[in-house]
Symmetry: C2
Subunit: 432 residues, 2 copies
């Protein structure tokens, strides 16, 4: 903090979003003589890769989230604001917040992430829950656990079957994790806890329109993942396009209906609305097209990173993964700290340290360099890497304890149904 006399003479950096991209950028600027304002709609940094565990009652939200304010506590050049950026005026170098207030900037880093998209079928949002926020995860947890509770009270066998059928749409990592976790929940965790239904008879269907799941991985690993899902009892429906979703279940393009009380949506994300308001080119997913230095074309001091950005290398867009966002955050932070002019910037290079997807207890796939792992070794690698990356000592320790406990006891640590305001009470109950 060179010039301690006043903030006015130091470059103002506004970072939109406290996810991996935004936070890593802010941290890279810790020693820089700048004034940072980080704006986020929530008060916490969320460890997205474990969000499905909150949805599946394995972890509590606080165990995978850390207050952004707390993370940046000792970084005196950073101020954290809880709020939503509604517009960016690139010409005036100003962002507007939800209440009409504005923040001036010299440098702007857009890292607001993505949200679930239903590809124009807005009505599906009510019946098919997505998984992007803590609230989403709690809602999925509520719906899944309630389905079993309702089935225990239901009399009609057809209704019980419908209540115990879970459809997950989308065969990417999130869909695979959710499908595997529901199957485990039903077949091990909840077994023996009900008296009228047998949770082991729950049916989990994973629907994907492609010809294999986890297309980001080599075909051998995709097939391994499919086998591991099958071992857990998950029904895989490949090449199946969803035509409609309603309260009764899912209708496929071939006309077949899967009667299900719970439908989870893991089929697509789209950049937040903020991108559209910028008036710069976006890709099909609504993401801002950026140059190789992560900057917006014609705006060398404005960057878009992470899931908000379409960053093309050799004709291939970088995937929407945490490591991409983190590396971009650090890269952009570095440019800002050293005030590198556009012509002297080395293009961003993504260092791919491998990727992995978990399927369940002792089940996963991992692709690290040329090495393909599956089953127990992949799962162990997944476990260690995710534990290490969690922010906060307490979280790491508590998650370790909770996982160890779950592993040996086959129980889940956060099986709470919490009410949503306005939701009406339970379904029909037969007398028995």
């Amino acid at each position: 903090m060179g010039s301690g006399t006043g903030a006015a003479d130091r470059p103002r950096v506004v970072i939109v979003g406290g996810g991996f991209g935004g936070l890593w950028c802010a941290r890279r600027l810790a020693a820089a003589a700048v004034d940072i304002v980080l704006v986020d709609r929530t008060n916490h940094h969320l460890f997205q890769p474990l969000l499905y565990q909150v949805a599946m009652a394995g972890l509590s939200p606080a165990e995978i989230a850390a207050p952004i304010r707390s993370v940046l506590r000792s970084q005196r050049n950073a101020r954290v604001l809880l709020g939503e950026v509604t517009a960016v005026d690139l010409a005036r170098r100003q962002v507007s917040l939800d209440d009409g207030a504005t923040l001036d900037f010299d440098w702007l880093v857009l890292a607001a992430g993505a949200k679930t998209t239903y590809f124009g079928h807005d009505a599906w949002e009510q019946v098919a829950a997505g998984l992007k926020t803590v609230e989403d995860a709690l809602e999925i947890r509520r719906r899944v656990l309630l389905a079993f509770e309702r089935a225990e009270r239901a009399g009609d066998p057809g209704e019980v079957e419908r209540l115990l059928t879970f459809v997950v749409v989308g065969g990417g990592p999130t869909g695979v994790e959710l499908a595997g976790a529901i199957a485990e929940l039903a077949h091990t965790v909840l077994a023996n806890e009900f008296r009228h239904i047998d949770p082991e008879r729950a049916k989990v269907v994973l629907v994907d329109s492609g010809d294999r799941i986890l297309t980001g991985f080599p075909a051998t690993l995709s097939h391994s993942a499919a086998d591991q899902l099958a071992e857990l009892g998950v029904h895989l429906r490949l090449g199946a396009r969803v035509a409609d979703i309603d309260g009764g279940g899912v209708v496929l393009a071939d006309g077949q209906r899967i009667a299900a009380s719970t439908v989870l949506w893991a089929a697509g994300v789209r950049a937040t609305r903020l991108c559209e308001s910028l008036g710069v080119p976006t890709d099909r997913g609504g993401r801002v097209v950026v140059g190789r230095d992560c900057a917006l074309p014609g705006h060398p001091q404005v960057f878009a990173i992470g899931d908000m950005a379409c960053h093309t290398v050799d004709g291939q867009a970088l995937p929407g993964l945490c490591p991409v966002a983190m590396q971009q955050g650090s890269y952009v932070g570095d440019i800002i700290a050293r005030e590198v002019p556009p012509e002297r910037r080395t293009p961003f290079e993504y260092v791919d340290r491998g990727s992995m997807a978990t399927i369940g207890r002792s089940r996963a796939i991992a692709w690290i360099g040329d090495t393909e792992l599956h089953g127990y070794p992949a799962w162990l690698a997944w476990l260690v890497i995710h534990l290490v990356q969690l922010i906060g000592f307490r979280n790491r320790f508590v998650v370790l304890v909770t996982w160890a406990w779950s592993y040996f006891s086959y129980k889940r640590g956060a099986r709470l149904i919490t009410e949503r305001k306005g939701e009406k009470s339970l379904v029909r109950v037969s007398r028995q």
Copy 2:
């Protein structure tokens, strides 16, 4: 499980409520040849004594709650239903559930607890949050944490002061715990995390109409508690009656207004509506007046226990404490298991093993037999006893870790603001 051939010939026991009373009763019946149905509105048993820690961002809800279904997993004679009992027909020995279904019973144990009461001022409910459920605790957590976030964005000094003023109404154990915990949150946990406000300037006011707090304890301990609260910076307003509460704060009976953005209500509980529907005498708090065997007068096979019951011993009603409910649950379970007729029942006797109230880090009071403890020893006793009583190994361990971590780091483990559906976005922000 003597007669395994069918349920019809075994006495049917319906237990309403999975709190301390209901659960202890069910457990006492584990070996009895009865069929138990335990009905609760939530899926979890809640460790109420630590609920204020959830409200104060110290613990996650799942750490103080256990699925009732899971607790009774291996008790094969018990069935758990998620639902609400809306009415009891004592003559027909039948309870009605929320959807109109009914359950027949031979024995009935009413243990549905109490809810927050505003003594007829229903409008206060919206502005002064009570603390009885997990949802209540999350709502308080949200409001308290949001107040600091809003203050950081506010410009007007008067508005900042109002946002940083917290009023707790009611000087019982819950009110004292909340007031102490907010003061600690502001003065230690949040210190240094804001750039425009100083959380240490937050003001916590504890309002009580009596002449001392914690009237369940001897006067010496009340005064010790008051001193310990003062050390934490809590302002005590004794002999102050609340005349009105609105969005702007609290108005006292003497006309003084305390401008505060957050008002918490810990001033009173009342038995649930179910009591009124029974058509039997209730006391001023709406509680069912029971005999010395916990049974309703004239209904020897129907019991009311815990916070639902007015159980008078030597002209003195038993207090609404967990140990009372637990002991009553076991007592009633014993009567049912042995089918003791009314004339041969030994009256219930409450064994008072002492009571305690915590005020903050290293601060508490305890009253055990003739021994009065305060400060660190009382706090240590409180800590150990509450850890031991938590249900579930994981919870005990995780809470221990979280407490130890909080003790040494001065941080809180669950500082998450989660959104309520329908709530509009943030308040006014000044540009600075």
